[in-house]
Amino acid sequence: MSAAGHQASQPPLRRDRGSAVVGGVCAGLGRRLGIDPIILRVVFIAASAAGGLGIGLYLLAWVAMPAEGERRAGGLRVPALPGGRDSWTVAGGIGLLALSLLLVFRQWGLWIGDGLVWPVVLAAAGGALIWRQSANAADPAPVREAPARAGGGSALGRAALGVALVVGAALLFLYFNDALRPARDALLPVVVVLVAGTLILAPWWIRLVRGLADERAERIRSQERAELAAHLHDSVLQTLALMQRRADNPREVAGLARRQERELRAWLDGGRPLGERGTLAAGLELAAAEVEEQHGVAVDVVTVGDCPLDAGAEALVAATREAVLNAAKFAGPEPVSVYAEVGTERVEVFVRDRGPGFDPDAVPEDRRGVRESIVGRMRRHGGDAVVHTGAGDGTEVELRLERAR
């Protein structure tokens, strides 16, 4: 609970299209990290100066980071982009600007080498076109809008140009390296072709995987919601209705509320009903709930450790139930405390009430409750039971059972 709350206070890593200059990567990163996006933009540009590294990183981040409200508002992107001929003008302008920047860097000597930088720049430009294309295609709304706005041929042409640029970059790269390393002639083309292929196909694949994951998460969420609603309807709403009808009987209302609380806790805690768990702790909870319901006395159960409900443990639960029943009957409205500790060698249970207490010797012989149901039962299973009581001091029944090895 608290962990989830903590996460929610931090903005998720999303591209921020609202304050985007290019793709919103820097704006999104800046918001997440709490840094002015200007600083990040300067860092990216500086990294681009070092032979195009920044451009590559930026494109990678663009693909990896989902945009804000991507699923909900797919139509946002298309109107924000200049459509048709305008987009080509803008693209051309950006291309020329990038080219002049690169030439300046080349002049200054901030350069790795012709053989690496030009192919990387070309591949980046081509990649950007293709990724952009597939990003639009993944949202159903823009697909319907795009032809009306920009014409169907434009989309295809953009993708084709992208592919041509990437392939050209690969060929250029091969050409430069052929001269340098003739020995790797056989291997290099294969690698480069593979890289180019990945670059072309990866965006569609990523979109597909992301879409499937979203759909699956949504399905699980709605299933859980339905299950929760069904449970609340069967239990809590029924009890609330019952409580309204019994409003004139506070004792009964308190009993109903407590039973419902117990059920809800068991459900929240593990999902399975107490009766099906087959452990000592669940058995004790169940016994306490039964007595609570019959006699309207609160029974608090605390257990340390747990063990399977074998014959001995069942006898222990039955004896505990008897002791709690006695406490509820004779000790009045004060709550009864049950404490069970499961050790490696023995299990101990203490049932304590704050009632008037009684004189054990004064109990007539024919009253079988304590002697038979508690002491006798425990002894038959190799355990023991002791009743500590005194007038005005409350009563504590101590049950002890050696664990079978």
Binding site: G5, H6, S9, V302, V304, S337, E341
Partner: protein, 218 residues
């Protein structure tokens, strides 16, 4: 020590519950104010300087743990008593390890709550039977080999501390425990405070993991 009337601030996101606690505590302790969310609570506590803050564990915006963290900067000695409907081990252990000096459930009666507030105001720790059970469970495993990195001062309970906790879990009051173990009620309180310190300072990673795993075993 505080005066005859300890002062409290109630932090809980349920208005109905705040009003209920206010009327129950009326005349028993001095209620300075209440708050419904983390920001209000932090402002209110720093401004009113109560002896004790009654703190709900689960609230939007980080819950009681967040309030303790945020107040700690301005008032490092502020005392908190956690008051919650949750008895999930992870919630209880988390709020105690964040710094609360005790934990009681919301079904507690007015006079008992006032008594718990006074004890926390005096610097004692308040353990409900359930919290005592959790602590015994978390520090259990006496029979298992102890990893070498464990600090015995912090990571294990003494026999006496175990005895005291077992009696709390069985429903005994400090006074009754003292009488049964032939020690004074103050000594019982000292043992409980020592356990609280161990619970907060122990680095035993099993402790946090235990709280999470407990849910999975059930």
């Amino acid at each position: 020590m505080t005066g005859p009337n300890a002062s409290v601030v109630i932090v809980d996101d349920h208005q109905l519950f705040r009003a209920g606690v206010r009327s129950e505590l009326d005349g028993l302790v001095e209620v300075l104010g209440d708050a419904a969310n983390v920001q209000d609570a932090v402002r209110c506590i720093i401004e009113l300087e109560p002896d004790v803050v009654l703190l709900d564990v689960q609230m939007p915006g980080g819950g009681g743990v967040q309030v303790i963290h945020d107040v700690a900067r301005a008032r490092p000695a502020q005392r908190f008593l956690a008051l919650s409907v949750s008895d999930a081990a992870e919630d209880v252990i988390a709020i105690i390890r964040a710094g609360a000096r005790g934990y009681v459930t919301k079904t507690i009666s007015g006079p008992e709550l006032a008594d718990a507030v006074r004890r926390v105001a005096d610097g004692d720790a308040v353990f409900s039977p359930r919290l005592a059970g959790f602590v015994l469970d978390a520090f259990a495993g006496a029979g298992q080999p102890i990893p070498s990195a464990v600090d015995p001062e912090l990571d294990q309970l003494t026999a006496r501390e175990r005895e005291v906790l077992q009696h709390i879990a069985r429903g005994y009051l400090y006074k009754e425990i003292g009488a049964r173990l032939h020690i004074s009620a103050k000594t019982v309180e000292a043992h409980v405070s020592a356990v609280l310190r161990k619970l907060q300072l122990s680095n035993r990673h099993e402790l946090s993991r235990w709280a999470v795993e407990r849910r999975l075993i059930d």
